[in-house]
């Protein structure tokens, strides 16, 4: 039975058709923080950083992702689940049970918060794949997990996987970020890397699953701005098999990172250059080798270039990358305080949590700020072989994406 979010009020408002044939517009605020020494920070840090940027959102979506937050289960896949009702939970759990050894299944710790209503049932699971099933199918654990995410998202009415990585989790919903953070008791977690987001959608009511960050395995992405090149970016991705069914820039940015980092194996610095390409004049002034490289990147990935104002933070288990557009039409401030690197839409967010940073700067347009936790390799999922169509289905759970091709085995 196809998954149709229209039927669920609260979880997905009835008047909101999630699979959007239209471009969805919105503004936002964001933050990212990473302690490169691997030391852990309380979840209050991202809440506070988002709280001072409250005026950048409109209460229709807030969210966080934290890394290193489950030290008791560092090697378990942790699924953060959203359910519309108990039936959805039962069906989804049956699938999880079939595929994983479930170590822990528990409701997400939450507390009532004024203004937060219509929350779905929120559960989390710490699990390891059944080894015999991995062997039988001869797939990597990552492919296996993506497959299960797809299966749940596409086959179970009213179930949505909010995050599915190791030692990380996404906490998101409809409300201001500080309310969402309080709701999820974020201050009880500690992580080495956090990203946060405040949403200002202009033409859609929010739904819990639609808040940022968007995740897949342990990638999370938050985004501020409006990409004017959405039309060609989405057609370009469709050419590779991705289905841009949400109509959001974030979805497009997430697929582009998947394409460039995982499938085309570009180093993250160069992937950022493809997405926020230098001007031709600038390329012409570079030394010959660098110019040849940039010219090729731009000529080849031109249809993927994100044109128009944006700031993006990509979080992963081991760091984060922040990037803004090629002529800096959206704000992004960066700071370093000892081993801590932080980015935010406003400097005040930084100074709220890092009152005396060693340095504060405005990153140059199109130049990524990259933070890496010492000793952790950025997991660009070299073990993942999922097709673009499968990635689309897993990330969005939208019917069109899951049925674009027969992606669910």
């Amino acid at each position: 039975m196809p998954y149709d979010l229209n039927r669920y009020d609260g979880f997905a408002p009835a008047n909101f058709r999630e699979e959007s044939p239209f471009k969805i517009h919105g503004g936002c605020g964001l933050m990212g923080i990473c302690d490169e020494s691997g030391a852990l920070m309380s979840g209050e840090v991202p809440i506070l950083a988002m709280a001072v940027q409250r005026d950048r959102g409109n209460g229709l979506g807030g969210g966080f992702a934290g890394y290193g937050i489950y030290p008791a289960f560092p090697d378990h896949f942790c699924f953060h689940m959203m359910y519309h009702d108990l039936r959805a939970k039962e069906e989804a759990e049956a699938i999880l049970d079939r595929h994983f050894l479930i170590e822990v299944a528990e409701p997400m710790p939450t507390r009532p918060v004024k203004g937060i209503t219509g929350a779905p049932l929120l559960w989390r699971y710490f699990m390891t794949p059944h080894t015999h099933m991995l062997e039988e199918r001869d797939v990597s654990a990552e492919d296996y997990v993506v497959g299960v995410v797809m299966l749940v998202n596409s086959r179970v009415d009213g179930a949505f996987v909010a995050s599915s990585g190791k030692n990380m989790g996404a906490f998101k919903g409809v409300g201001y970020p500080e309310e969402i953070g309080h709701y999820f008791r974020l201050e009880e977690y500690e992580g080495h890397t956090w990203v946060g987001h405040n949403r200002f959608p202009t033409n859609t009511p929010g739904w819990w699953g639609g808040a940022h960050p968007f995740t897949l395995l342990d990638w999370s992405i938050v985004h501020n701005g409006e990409i004017s090149s959405y039309g060609i970016n989405s057609r370009y991705l469709e050419q590779f098999g991705y289905t841009c069914s949400l109509g959001t820039d974030t979805e497009v940015a997430a697929y582009l990172f998947d394409l460039l980092l995982r499938r085309h194996k570009l180093p993250v610095e160069l992937a950022c250059k493809a997405l926020a390409a230098p001007l031709w004049d600038e390329i012409d002034r570079m030394p010959a080798d660098a110019a040849a490289l940039m010219r090729s990147l731009r000529a080849v990935y031109g249809p993927g270039m994100l044109n128009g104002p944006f700031a993006i933070v990509l979080g992963f288990n081991g760091g984060m990358v922040a990037l803004n557009d090629r002529i800096k039409l959206r704000p992004l401030v960066a700071a370093r305080s000892g081993a801590v690197i932080m980015v935010a839409s406003e400097e005040s967010a930084i100074r709220t949590v890092l009152p005396a940073p060693d340095e504060v700067w405005t990153p140059k347009a199109g130049e990524p700020v990259i933070a890496r936790v010492a000793g952790m390799e950025p997991p660009f999922h070299s073990q993942l072989h999922a097709s673009p169509a499968e990635i689309s289905c897993a990330m969005t759970a939208v019917e069109a994406a899951c049925h674009a091709e027969e992606v669910v085995a």
């Binding site: 004017s228 039309g231 057609r235 080849v300 044109n307 128009g308």
Partner: protein, 503 residues
Amino acid sequence: MQQSFVQPEFRVKIDYDKCHKCGRCVQQCGWGVYDFNERPVPHDEKCRACHRCVTFCPAHCITIEKNTLAFRDNDNWSTDARKAVWKQAETGGVLLTSMGNPKPYERIFDKLLLDACQVTNPSIDPLREPMELRTYLGRKPDNVEIVPDGNGGFKLAEGAGVHHNIKLDTPIIFSPMSYGSVSLNVHRSLAMAAERCGILMNTGEGGLHEDLYPYQDNVIVQVASGRFGVSPEYLQRGAAIEIKIGQGAKPGIGGHLPGEKIDREVSATRMIPQGSDAISPAPHHDIYSIEDLRQLIYALKEASGYKPVGVKIAAVHNVAAIASGIVRAGADYVYLDGFRGGTGAAPAVIRDHIGIPIEIAIAVVDQRLREEGIRNQASIIAAGSIRSSADAAKAIALGADVVAIGTAALLALGCHLCQSCHTGKCSWGITTQKPELTRRIDPEWGAERLTNLVHAWSHELQEILGALGVNAVESLRGSRERLRAVGLDEQTCRILGVKPAGL
């Protein structure tokens, strides 16, 4: 001689009170309309309404009017249809004409509107902020392979990246027009303008005159079925090589340049005897199928040191599949010529009734290449009545990389679209080889007008990009989301991949 039933189309009116009796009109008219007997005496039946005499009459006393001679109304049997029958009954000939299809078929460009930014994303100021039109023409790999450079950075892997692409400063180039069909001065004007604008001109099928050698980096050399002027040197001189399969104005039809037009220079450039007819067969006789095309493409690459090789086809019903085959055969670009494209000479029945609109051709080809995952492997050049920068922007939004302009370029040089190029008597000195007429185009003057036109359109494209909130043309290319249709039927919208306005 038998009295023709066909009455003159135009009336040449001279206000003799103002006329200086200077005789300039007599000298200006390429079609010999005027006799001079103390004052100019026009023979209306020869007039083509090219306005050369009107433009240069010092007294401004000439005007050309339509012959308003009334025919009995008949929506079925138009006046033109009746005249055609009379002409053919008189001559027994195929009616020859020139320039593009003038019939009132739907003009899709005029039913498409572009988007603009408001609030949620900003428009960009095209004059002060960067607004990049640079376009690389040619085959691109699907991805860029990188290796560490040994200093903590990265460099291109051996042989990776983009090669054999042509840098264009703006996505507007000149379409092929052969020396022979147009004059050498037109070719010189186009070549000089191409160099100044950082774009390309195209020899057409008539070879490359040595006067154009200094501009060879801005020239596409064409190889057509007649193989005129094709030598290893010719192939090595061009920036790119184009195999001409077809032309929008006359798909499936060859060409015939009459011997009278083959003077010494034309004959030397085409490498055929002076005065003999230059005949282009309908097909290339070494291309009867797609694998033969591949063979020719690689023969040209071998002979030229692997220059980009493009293939020009007329937009016909099955254009998407044909283009896909061309790309898979190894072409670096596909040149699509819509059914409104111009010509120096074509049978009217062919020009007016064969082919499909360029808008549709771009849409289906771009989509097909994307679906097959080979869109990066070739650029798309679109032509066939690009009348303005707006048409260019819409063509690019539908999926073209580059547009080519022929008729617009000739208009810049003075052409008035009198559709009489096939007579070889063009009063404007464009489509003629008569020295007294070709002199009328000074290449320096022509180059300046063409440069002005390309620059003006480029500025307008920048204005459009700015309104769309993007600062590089690659963000408009194929971005059909930025187009909306007004008054197109649902099926056409679907084929174009464009939503109706309001959605």
